[in-house]
């Protein structure tokens, strides 16, 4: 196996929320994690284990109270959310979060094409991009291509999540964060989007972190598995270990959460 290239490193990261208030709580504790090029990491953990906080820390919404974050060797611990969007993209659980409701599908995609770039007084040229956008939408299926001129508030939850995923990947991110992006969908739609996700992440060799509550999905997809508990990584399994693991064993690591 070729030597791995680190895309993002968390170095002894601790995050405390509601600091200096009675509700003060340590979410991530001394968490160290290296994410390598091509990693497709599934992340499991009980509620409160720090999964979402991990994503918020990586994307810059939360600044660590201690520790460092490095992107390709460069320290980005205090870099703003906007700056980080030039290399990080994210899909949220709530279909309403990832798309602008009153803007059309085409307008949404066009906005996403310029993720993290300076937006100046250049005309966006929607009409000139239409054909290209239609092609891209066609590849995603879910009849998105027929809805290019529809405001996204009129789309189904599944279509919106498909669109959100498309928007997160249309400009290749160094790191793709999927925060239970299929959890709000019905089982059939959820499976379809999950399969599509896996296919696109694998063929485009994207580096991806995916939080999931489905143990089956955590085992079935990806090439690395993390178990989070009380703000620490308690298990970090590579592809080989992950393939050997069965559902009961994973549940076992998971269940002695309450300490």
């Amino acid at each position: 196996m070729e030597s791995k290239q680190a895309v993002l490193t968390l170095d002894k990261v601790t995050t405390v929320v509601n600091q200096h208030t009675p509700a003060e709580a340590k979410i991530l504790r001394d968490l160290t994690l290296t994410i390598n090029q091509g990693d497709f990491i599934t992340i499991v953990g009980a509620n409160g284990a720090g999964k979402s906080t991990l994503f918020n820390t990586i994307s810059g919404l939360i600044t660590p109270t201690a520790g460092r974050i490095l992107h390709q060797g460069q320290e980005i611990t205090h870099q703003s959310v906007e700056k980080r969007t030039s290399f990080i993209s994210r899909v949220f659980q709530d279909p309403k979060m990832g798309t602008a409701p009153r803007m059309t599908v085409a307008e949404n995609i066009l906005l996403a094409k310029k993720r993290g770039e300076r937006r100046g007084l250049h005309l966006r040229k929607l009409a000139a991009h239409k054909e290209q956008l239609r092609e891209i939408a066609t590849q995603m299926g879910n009849s998105l291509a027929d809805k290019l001129d529809t405001p996204t508030e009129h789309l189904s939850g599944g279509q919106r999540q498909t669109l959100s995923f498309l928007m997160a990947t249309i400009k290749r991110p160094d790191i793709l964060l999927l925060d239970e992006h299929t959890a709000a969908l019905d089982p059939k739609t959820s499976r379809k989007l999950m399969a599509q996700t896996s296919q696109i992440v694998t063929t485009q060799k994207l580096t991806c972190l995916m939080i999931t509550h489905s143990m089956e999905d955590a085992l079935k997809y990806g090439n690395r598995l993390l178990v989070l508990r009380s703000g620490q990584v308690v298990a970090d399994l590579d592809n080989e270990q992950k393939t050997k693991l069965n559902l009961d064993e994973l549940m076992a690591t998971f269940n002695d959460t309450d300490d």
Binding site: S59, V81, E82, K83, T85, S86, S89, R90, F92, K96, M97, G98, T99, A100, P101, R102, M103, E107, L110, L111, A112, K114, R115, G116, E117, R119, G120, L121, H122, L123, R124, L126, M167
Partner: protein, 300 residues
């Protein structure tokens, strides 16, 4: 005829206010109270400047800049100071009241005998009120085109998405604070411009001329939406202008019915309240059903 021309002229001049508020009320999705302060601010600056011998064009631009400065302060208080937008607007509006009195050196300044946009020679040859139609129409065409172009740019799109879905805007790298500040600055600049033109049209600036204008601006937006229904963004800008003119006709009718100009604020508020409740009223009174029935029967 004179009354109708006058209403169209007033509608066009006041439409600027509607367009300005559209940027915040419909795109950024909040009601910006600053306008009640920046409108008389624009008027005060422009009128005072004209009486000091500044050319009407420069004076009007100063009115725009004054309004923009007010909006900038509201934007900073809201985004950087974490003051709720309604309160931030009220604070700047209240502050403007004192500033306006300072600028004018009193509660009103007259433009009697001064050169304004409306005193230009060509207007003397035209019938009455055509000056406001031409100046209002010209300004509104220019501003509408500029707004429409701006909204088509990458920056304009970032501005729109900020109001539509702030979380998503941020995740696409849009600095939503800056976009909010930009929107408030632009919007209040246009409000200042409206104040500047309307004061020149009236022939004076008055410290109290801002009272109730947010209702007038909202009325033109809402009337446009109620009358014209589902539209694209550019069409909605036109709907605001037409809404403003319709609103002036409604006022004309109300005055013809014998109400006094003192009643106008109450009447404006009632008109706006009814328009805002219309979706709910339609549902409750089943107006939609009745209308549809009526239409389908005609179809037979």
């Amino acid at each position: 005829m004179n009354l109708i021309t006058s209403s169209i002229g007033q509608g066009l001049l006041w439409a600027l206010l509607g367009l300005a508020l559209f940027l915040t009320f419909r795109i950024l999705n909040f009601a910006d109270m600053t306008v009640e302060g920046t409108f008389p601010l624009g008027a005060a600056i422009t009128v005072t400047a004209i009486t000091k011998g500044v050319s009407p064009l420069i004076a009007t631009l100063l009115g725009f800049l004054g309004g923009a400065a007010g909006g900038l302060i509201t934007g900073l208080l809201y985004t950087k100071g974490n003051i709720p937008i309604l309160l931030a607007g009220i604070l700047v509006m209240t502050g403007c009241l004192s500033v306006n009195l300072r600028i004018m050196g009193g509660s009103n300044v007259s433009l009697l005998g001064q050169k304004t946009f409306f005193s230009a020679k060509i207007f003397q040859t035209l019938p009455r009120y055509f000056d406001s139609v031409l100046i209002g129409g010209g300004t509104i065409i220019l501003i509408t085109i500029l707004i429409a172009l701006f909204l088509e740019t990458d920056l304009g799109q970032a501005f729109i998405v900020t109001g539509d879905n702030q979380m998503m805007a941020q995740s696409l790298g849009v600095n939503t604070d800056n976009m909010t500040i930009l929107g408030l600055t632009l919007s209040n600049g246009l409000v200042g411009l409206a104040g500047a033109l309307i004061a020149q049209n009236n022939g004076y600036a008055d410290a109290n001329m801002g009272i109730g204008i947010i209702v007038i601006a909202l009325a033109s937006i809402i009337i446009g939406e109620v009358v014209f229904g589902y539209l694209t963004l550019n069409q909605r800008l036109i709907a605001v202008i037409l809404g403003s003119i319709i609103y002036r006709f409604v006022l004309l009718i109300v005055l013809q019915l014998g109400f006094s100009t003192n009643d106008l604020n109450l009447i404006s508020a009632i008109i706006l309240a009814i328009c805002l409740m219309l979706p709910k009223l339609r549902h409750a009174l089943k107006l939609d059903g009745i209308l549809r029935k009526g239409v389908s029967q005609h179809g037979k």
